[in-house]
Amino acid sequence: MTRDEVLNLYFLDARSKLIDLAAFLDRVEGSAGEDDFRVRSFRAALRHLSESEREKAKAVLLTLSDPTTEPLEKATTKGAAGAWPQFKS
């Protein structure tokens, strides 16, 4: 597809999602409490969107992933949080 065709097909949807992201952060920042690993990971992932790299979706997914390689000793829960709980920066 040409750049124009991509924009005609997806711009309004992406615009809507962008505003949703902004509103989500407004909601988080307007709420009582501190950022946790999910918000810290989210903000780190957002930085990839304004960079020139080609594989932005992959970069976001990697930022939200557990980077370790050793198996867990035991599964104490079944669910996933969407971000790695030990994420720091």
Binding site: K58, L61, S65, A83
Partner: protein
């Protein structure tokens, strides 16, 4: 349009979904064994579940002229209990020759624990001994990358397993290249929130090629859409993909992979 739904948990869906899928062009439904949303109390619960997958669901699907196939296993979410897992693994051979059983699945990892890996190894051994196809579930969200790497390492170290007879499911942009470069088939699951949306799925098809990819809806008891595959096919048309390419991805590809099982026959 014709398509195969290669991954749908119809036990969790209403009969209207079978009707909608048939009307949308579905030619066959394949149902992997999975976590029911709660832990079963004993291996006998799995025996009932395997009976449901091999006896009851095929009859329900047949009302809409849909062939129904299934995969058998104890899923990774119930694999932390090694005693229960061993009891369920012992039951599977009783069902493996049923006429709609495609293979062992969806096995894999959930939280990437040592016990999950032990149970995965036992399933892979079972598949090798009974010469079965394998369908692999990769973990959710932040656990997917690590789990996919562990699964690939485990499978590559098992000399009896041919990568072309294994499909690793729920890939995303960061795991699809790992799976495909290792020679396995890859499945893209179309979910409204987690996993992958139709536009991202088509991006991956365009980027990685359709040779060893399939699309599935994995509809179950959570937020999911049993018509996600035909909706994605429609979006491929809006992007200008040919009918031939769409048919290759949503019909011929699942037929090529599943056709490696003698059980998979369409009239």
């Amino acid at each position: 349009m014709r398509y195969i739904e290669p991954h749908a948990h119809m036990v969790s869906r209403v009969t209207d979904d079978y009707a909608a899928m048939a009307m949308a062009g579905c030619q066959a439904v394949c149902e992997p064994a999975f976590w029911a949303g709660f832990d079963r109390g004993s291996a006998e619960g799995f025996r009932d579940y395997f009976s449901l997958l091999t006896e009851h669901e095929p009859k329900r699907a047949a009302n809409f002229l849909l062939p129904h196939f299934c995969w058998l296993c104890i899923n990774p979410k119930e694999s932390e209990d090694l005693k229960l897992a061993d009891e369920v693994l012992a039951i599977i051979p009783e069902f493996i020759d049923r006429p709609n059983v495609l293979g062992i699945g969806e096995i894999g990892l959930n939280k990437n624990s040592r016990n999950e890996i032990i149970v995965l190894e036992k399933h892979v051994d079972l598949a090798a001994r009974f010469n079965q196809l394998i369908l692999v579930h990769t973990p959710h969200l932040e656990d997917k990358l690590k789990g996919t790497r562990l699964i690939i390492d485990l499978l590559k170290n098992e000399s009896r397993i041919e990568p072309g007879r294994v499909l690793i499911d729920h890939v995303e942009e960061h795991t699809a290249p790992l799976v495909l470069e290792a020679g396995f088939w890859a499945g893209i699951t179309l979910y409204p929130q987690s996993k992958c949306t139709p536009p991202r799925a088509i991006d991956m098809v365009e980027r990685f090629g359709a040779e060893r990819l399939w699309l599935n809806c994995a509809c179950d008891w959570g937020k999911s859409d049993p018509l996600a595959v035909p909706k994605t096919a429609l979006e491929m048309r809006t992007r200008g993909h040919s009918e031939e390419k769409i048919d290759f991805l949503v019909y011929r590809n699942p037929c090529r992979f599943l056709g490696q099982s003698p059980v998979f026959k369409l009239s």
